[in-house]
């Protein structure tokens, strides 16, 4: 863990305390039905009451300027909040709303758009979500949803899926293909012609499938144009998702380590077996690489570092690999109990697979990093 200042230390302690008191893994478990699928009666796939508490404590406004009701604490601070929450698989739309949607408005929004949306995102009365993916893979360069010129504005047609936290969002940042390339729009969830339905995903988080059927928007809904804006927003998403994966992997590792120290077979603790000790030591090493990559990328966001795209893809690729490996080991080292829905290992495995695909798989980010670095 990098060196924190006094305010950051207080914030971090506050988050861990809140996670212990209010957000045990049981909350995420509550999203599942008894057979291990998503509960059909769940509406949003996140805990709206808990998010109201999070907002009241100011965490949803960490990236929002003070003039719009936030604290402007910076991405590094939001990063360790996301990490801490993800340790318990907290079902909250903080990444979608406080990291990605707020970043989109800060990077692309004009004064009127910022005044209209940032205060609500900061106080949690509105949840924002980025609608970029349309199919099986994260391919932001290839968008099928179209934006065509209409009288005094635009018309959107197409679908978006999966949209994380989309069932509870009040505002969508929609990436579309316009006549002049990529364009981004601010679309209220109640816009005419926009419908949404939940997807029963393995992590029970119920992302949305959005259908845009002739959604008509005014010119004031245009957030900005060009691949550069979308890339800059996505860089924040990559790093935020990597921070969540770091938290998830860290907790999965610690839970597994605890099991190695308590489970007895052949008359001894299984954590005394060298084969298992070495696997644990190697996982610990991978976690170190991941933490370094995530922290460096968070620092780069706050510093407006031109290396951010490269650092963001490095962080996401390594976080993906580490979380993948550790969640596999979590199930394997727990043995039979790790295969049961009753045990937490499966929850970490399923959430990890979703977070690995969200905002780009390992191969997507290795390819992106390779291009950025001349390979």
């Amino acid at each position: 863990m990098a060196v924190l200042n006094e305010e950051q230390t207080m914030l971090k302690d506050m988050v861990s305390q809140w996670v212990r008191d209010r957000m045990p893994v049981g909350v995420a478990r509550g999203l599942y039905d008894h057979s291990g699928g998503g509960r059909k009666d769940a509406t949003t796939g996140f805990d709206a009451d808990a998010y109201a508490e999070v907002a009241a404590m100011g965490w949803s406004g960490i990236l929002v300027p003070e003039a719009h009701g936030g604290s402007d604490f910076g991405a590094f601070s939001l990063g360790f909040v996301l990490e801490e929450l993800a340790r318990a698989l907290s079902p909250l739309p903080l990444l979608s709303s406080a990291m990605v949607a707020v970043s989109a408005l800060r990077l692309g929004g004009n004064a009127a758009q910022q005044s209209a949306w940032l205060p609500g995102l900061a106080d949690g009365s509105i949840i924002g979500a980025l609608a970029v993916d349309e199919g099986a893979h994260h391919l932001p360069d290839i968008l099928a949803l179209t934006a065509t010129r209409a009288e005094n504005g635009w018309r959107l047609d197409g679908i978006k899926r999966p949209v994380a936290d989309g069932m509870g969002a009040g505002l969508f940042i929609v990436a579309a293909r316009g006549d002049d390339g990529t364009a981004l729009f601010l679309v209220p969830a109640d816009a005419a012609g926009l419908t949404r339905e939940p997807l029963d995903q393995i992590d029970a988080r119920r992302p949305a499938l959005l259908r845009f059927d002739g959604v008509v928007l005014g010119d004031d809904a245009m957030l900005g144009q060009g691949d550069a804006l979308l890339s800059a927003i996505l860089d924040r998403a990559y790093v935020g998702q990597a921070a969540e994966l770091l938290g998830l992997a860290t907790q999965a590792f610690e839970t597994t380590l605890e099991y190695l120290k308590t489970r007895v077979q052949f008359g001894q603790l299984i954590g005394s077996f060298q084969a298992l000790q070495h696997r644990a030591s190697e996982m610990f090493g991978e976690l170190q690489l991941t933490r370094s990559a995530v922290e460096a990328a968070l620092v780069a966001i706050d510093a407006d570092d031109p290396q951010l795209p490269s650092l963001a893809s490095l962080a996401k690729a390594i976080a993906n690999e580490t979380a993948h490996r550790i969640t596999c080991e979590m199930v394997q080292l727990h043995g039979g109990i790790g295969m049961t829905h009753e045990h937490d290992a499966g929850l970490y495995l399923k959430r990890s697979r979703v977070a690995e695909q969200a905002y780009g798989s390992s191969s997507f980010h290795r390819e992106r990093w390779a291009r950025l670095n001349g390979y």
Binding site: K261, L269, Q274, Q277, H278, R291, W369, Y375
Partner: protein, 388 residues
Amino acid sequence: MEDQQFRQEVRDWLSANFPPALTGVNGLIFQGDAHAAAANADFQVWRKAMADKGWGTPTWDKAYGGAGLSAAQAKIIAQELSAIGAFNPIRSYGTMMLGPTLLEFGTEEQRLQHLPRISTHELRWCQGFSEPGAGSDLASLQMKCVDAGDHWVVSGQKIWTSGADQADWCFALVRTDTSVKHGGISFLLIDMTSPGVEARPIVLISGSTHFCEVFFNDVKVPKGNLVGAVNQGWNIAKRLLQFERSSLSEVKTDVTPLAPIAHAMLGTDAEGRIADADARARIVHNAMRHAAYLQTVRRFNEEARNGGPGNGVSTLKNLWSNIVQRRAELLVEVLGADGLGWSGDAYPADAREATRALLHSKAFSIYGGSYEIQNNITAKRSLGLPDR
């Protein structure tokens, strides 16, 4: 303010004293090869200048040949050296390992006898730890050290002793009690010119003769050469190995960028990418891990400066050996048949060097505590996993 002033002083002195011909030269060449060091007039000028100034061991007392500077000032010197492509000509096993050990465990007499000649790099030291039967299980070492009244008598064999054939002195672990394992080891300083000492270079797979086996045949050693108390050597050795591991993990690996070589040897596709997709994927994967490793070194250093946990040296060493060995293999793979030459102009010099480096790199996960030993240490110290 004071720091700024000191930095300026360092800059001025360096511009007046660092021989420009040594700019960008890897100081390890001279550290590892006494003949190369003796034959290079610029190196000798540079060594003498730094020795007189005490800046090779800046934090040591002036009485020990240092400059009595603070850690912050030492860092400024290191930064300014690196900024102009200069190296510390005093850096050696003596400064990195024995010096800190004597400062912590030695008597004043021992410090005054040895430290001044370490801080000038007049004398070379070697480390006599491993034995044929004591590698990873170092504490099983058997080299005998018997009390003969007014002196010790040492007999036995050491192996993997770096630079022993060129060393003037050896700091060695010896057995002073055969009835207990760890509690029967002492830490002894041995003059390599003593009768009965013989060092023989070992030829390695890379052709290097840097490592030696050293035979001690009833060697007489003065009583005052034992550091710490009799049978307390293991504690000293553990501490010294920490110095060694932290200096190993700080090693700046001189990294050849793989992309241009891969472009040249494997060709490029229409988009300018390495044409061999499979090789490219593996190269990129390793390059990304290498980038994260460098971030980790920076993070650990920053945390250590701020009093962080500091138990990550074993983890860091394993990440390093794993990533750097893989990188060396990839480089030679990309070179293809050019990377398989031992000598001769038919093979480009760079390629021959890469091949030797690959062969040499196999030692990274063996020396300084093997990969497996480091994993044991991480499991016990960082993760608290049980013995039984």
